[in-house]
């Protein structure tokens, strides 16, 4: 295994160097870097041309200039290790890259995580309900999303979601016919997802529809959209739901110890609600907030571990997932509590969903206000990115689970009398994840490069802008900085995909 990793690593490095060489030559030859100066009418035209030539070593032909650039990275030009050169405007590329990377990573991280989770969940449920209306519906939708140009979706989202929702927020009233339609839709969706037969499906439909309608009417009556909140009642209900739901999927409700641990964790979360909302949250910075989240998960894990008896690991896992979700719910409520103040602040002026940029200029506030600001800017690009990548994850996980469900060991598991939950979650789902894991690793490597268009449409100055500015000025340095990150990620995740595959599937021998 070690030799395999080392050999793959060395091969990857050579491939990467070859790719950077190719890329450098192509960018350098894509146009004339002095074009704007040649056509200018400045009196000191000749001087400017000479200055730029000296700055960017334009007198050296590109195939050799590459090695000056490569030498800079290895610290041979005396500017320190990892020196990426300067742009046409004589700005250091390293600084630009740092800023751009932060912005792009913020943009793609959330979208990727949500798309993966959503895609796998939907893919799994469609595979389990194969040939149902739900399955056909999702299949059609994923083909549709697959065929959407992202810039086209982006403009529609801006127009209808952002501007439309902002208009709606001015006078948030849901008409009764919309409530009826949404309730019916939610009923149909739940009915197709939940495995029931005959009259029970009708009950599922009715319960889901009535619950949705009740929720919407409640929101309407309490003016929820102006003052969003979950509140202590909502937290108690949803924490209980989380405890039972997570246990049902993770270990099954028959596992009493897991259920007990989850309920204890949920109860602690509820008990922490008021101290957190009224006191603790005012003293948090971003990192202490993250730390608190980690602490919550760790404590939940410990509770599960020590009350788990003979089944320490699964009980602890269940309790930890419950703890994470309950902590996330409470944080969400805290974010919601500043919504009204945020939306009506002088910078926002009642139009909270942003269509462009990555943050409101000049806005200052607590962790929570800045968090909401971040969210409103991230909303549209995230939806656009999710729509595009969600489709392929759904298809892959559906195909993968169908393949596994037909294996002999699934029949064996059923034959020995295991519950459907155990068969699906423990025997089928885990094996279906093997191919999905490699595809996901492969995709993450490509997603930063793919975000170029998204960034441009939503006006994020990230890696895409670095790339485009560089290319427009025929300036290889910023383009190469962009490519070092994008190509590096692609190679790294390719390697990870191979290793994950070898690690997860003992049938694959690497030697």
């Amino acid at each position: 295994m070690a030799t395999f990793v080392v050999r793959r690593l060395i091969a990857s490095i050579f491939i990467f160097i070859a790719a950077t060489y190719l890329m450098y030559i192509l960018v350098a030859l894509s146009g004339d870097p002095l074009e704007d100066l040649r056509t200018s009418s400045a009196p000191n035209k000749q001087q400017l041309i000479e200055a730029r030539t000296a700055l960017l070593n334009l007198d050296v032909p590109p195939p050799l200039r590459y090695f000056i650039w490569l030498g800079g990275i290895f610290g041979l030009t005396g500017k320190g290790f990892g020196y990426l050169g300067v742009t046409v405007q004589n700005q250091p590329v390293n600084v630009l890259l740092g800023q751009a990377m932060g912005s792009t990573l913020q943009l793609v991280t959330l979208a990727t995580v949500v798309a993966i989770i959503l895609g796998i969940v939907v893919g799994i449920t469609t595979a389990l309900r194969q040939y149902s209306g739900y399955d056909y519906g999702v299949t059609f939708l994923s083909f549709l999303f697959f065929s959407l140009p992202i810039f086209w979706v982006a403009v529609l989202l801006k127009q209808y979601l952002a501007i439309g929702f902002n208009d709606f927020l001015r006078d948030p009233a849901i008409p009764w016919w919309l409530i009826v339609i949404l309730a019916l839709i939610s009923g149909v969706i739940w009915m197709s997802i939940i495995p029931r037969k005959g009259i029970q499906r009708l009950y599922t439909f009715l319960i889901a529809a009535v619950a949705t309608a009740a929720l919407l009417v409640y929101m309407e009556l309490t003016d929820w959209f102006s003052n969003p909140h979950i509140g202590i009642v909502g937290i108690v209900l949803s924490a209980a739901g989380v405890a039972f739901g997570v246990t049902a999927i993770s270990t099954g409700l028959r596992q009493r110890r897991a259920l007990r641990a989850s309920i204890i964790v949920a109860a602690i979360g509820i008990a922490m609600y008021y101290p957190f909302m009224l006191f603790i949250s005012y003293y948090l910075t971003f990192w202490t907030w993250v730390g608190l989240g980690v602490l919550a998960v760790a404590v939940s894990f410990a509770i599960g571990w020590f009350t788990g008896g003979a089944d320490k690991a699964p009980v602890a896992r269940t309790a930890a997932i419950t703890g994470f979700l309950v902590a996330a719910l409470i944080s969400l409520d805290r974010f919601m509590s500043v919504w009204n103040a945020y939306a009506n602040s002088s910078r926002i002026k009642g139009r909270p969903i942003a269509t462009i940029g990555s943050s409101t200029p000049g806005l200052e506030g607590s962790l929570w206000v800045m968090g909401v600001d971040f969210f409103t800017h991230l909303l549209l690009p995230t939806i656009a990115l999710i729509l595009i990548s969600f489709a392929s994850y759904t298809r892959y996980s559906r195909a993968s689970l169908l393949e596994v469900m037909n294996q002999d060991y699934i029949r064996t598991a059923r034959a020995k009398g295991l519950t459907e939950r155990t068969v699906v979650v423990r025997h089928a789902f885990r094996n279906a994840l093997i191919p999905i894991a490699t595809i996901v690793a492969f995709d993450i490597g490509g997603i930063v490069g793919g975000a170029v268009i998204t960034e441009r449409v939503f006006g994020w100055t990230g890696m895409g802008a670095l790339f485009q500015n560089g290319l427009d000025h025929v300036d290889p340095n910023p383009v190469m900085a962009f490519f070092l990150v994008v190509g590096g990620l692609a190679i790294l995740f390719n390697l990870i995909a191979d290793l994950v595959y070898a690690g997860l599937d003992p049938r694959i021998r690497v030697s």
């Binding site: 309900r129 040939y131 697959f146 140009p149 810039f151 195909a399 169908l402």
Partner: protein
């Protein structure tokens, strides 16, 4: 190649095992048919693919006959009264005249832009460009990918190492990035040149898949048999192995063509693709996205055509995948099983489609080596 239609099996007398019943339906169904006929039958059973094929044919016909074709100086007129590069007087503030109730096409069904060009003609021209790019990319990428994959999979050794490392180098650079770089250099030369460039970039995934197919097929008995019979490498590759890998190749070329359309529109949107005065669907959207609030029709129609083309191609690809590789359709739903168990009446087409999926993957059968 018998032309006798297979009798439709009535599964009523197979009361024991549903699986067995379905299996024998499948066997009867395909008895005496060539592989090509089986694939065609399965493909035509996929309704989405069939509808998509007609829709795509309609789009192709509409776009090429309406405004005619133009290559350089040579032009042939179409039946539509306006051309895509001539501005006419703006009527009714440029609003679209297309309406369904009552049905009317009017002078400018998709409206006009701010200088007065007829958007229907512009969109038709853009559709032509996108379709042409799609076909050129598909042909070039398929040929390169197949050849590289076949050579490295069949010969292995140093040829494999060199070709696959080369593939890795190209794969490392995201397509949109390298296409933008090359498009900036060659975009002025028009859509066909752009298509050739995209074709030279998009073959990598196909090459890897074909290589995988060849690696496993070259170990099969029918290849040994051919070699013992004295066939040379060329004959083995083209007459024996390639026909068995044709399913993978066709399915992936279709999907590749769908992504070629989206990539072309993407780089045209970034400004590195098709250049003025010519146009493409991505370019129309890119030019008009700021005008969405005032003239949404400039924006809707090109997008609708991009989606329609890409959606059709994706559905056709899905149909081909089902036809060539029925593995994904193996698990019949509970309902279908219960119905097949219970019913004494002839089984409709839906359980048949499920049943055929129970046959193990037969793409490598020896009989096919010289048949296709």
């Amino acid at each position: 190649m018998s032309n006798i239609p297979p009798p439709v099996e009535q599964p009523g007398h197979h009361e024991g095992s549903v699986a067995e019943a379905e299996n024998s339906i499948e066997l009867k169904e395909i008895a005496g048919l060539s592989q090509g006929q089986i694939v065609r039958r399965r493909f035509f059973r996929h309704k989405g693919a069939l509808i998509s094929m007609f829709a795509l044919a309609f789009i192709i016909l509409l776009s090429f006959t309406s405004v005619g074709v133009a290559f350089g100086d040579w032009k042939s007129g179409g039946w539509w009264q306006y051309t895509w590069n001539v501005a006419v007087e703006i009527e009714n503030n440029g609003r679209p005249t297309l309406s369904l109730f009552p049905f009317a096409i009017g002078n400018h069904p998709f409206g006009q832009d701010e200088v007065g060009r007829d958007i229907f003609a512009v969109v038709m021209r853009g559709t032509q460009q996108s379709l042409m790019i799609m076909v050129i990319v598909g042909v070039i990428a398929t040929i390169i990918g197949t050849v590289i994959g076949a050579v490295s999979g069949y010969y292995r050794g140093w040829r494999d190492s060199v070709l696959m490392r080369f593939t890795d180098v190209i794969i490392t650079i995201p397509v949109i990035v390298i296409a933008a770089v090359l498009g900036r250099r060659f975009g002025d030369f028009g859509a066909p040149v752009l298509a050739v460039i995209l074709g030279l970039l998009l073959w990598t995934g196909l090459a890897r898949l074909v290589r995988g197919e060849f690696l496993s097929l070259r170990e099969r008995e029918f290849v040994d048999a051919a070699r013992v019979a004295g066939a040379n490498d060329n004959r083995i590759i083209f007459r024996h192995i390639l026909p068995n890998a044709i399913g993978v190749i066709i399915v992936n070329s279709t999907l590749l063509m769908a992504s070629a359309i989206l990539i072309e529109t993407g780089i045209s949107f970034l400004g590195y693709g098709v250049q003025a005065p010519d146009t493409s669907l991505g370019k129309i959207i890119s030019e008009n996205q700021v005008a969405f609030a005032t003239r949404p029709w400039l924006f809707w129609w090109p997008g609708v055509f991009i989606i329609a083309i890409a959606l059709c191609i994706n559905f056709i690809g899905d149909g081909l995948r089902d036809a060539f590789d029925p593995r994904q359709k193996r698990m019949p739903s509970d309902r279908a099983l219960a119905r097949a168990d219970r019913d004494k009446t002839p089984v409709g087409p839906a359980p048949l489609a499920e049943a055929e999926a129970r046959v193990p993957r037969a793409s490598g059968s020896t009989g096919m080596g010289t048949g296709l």
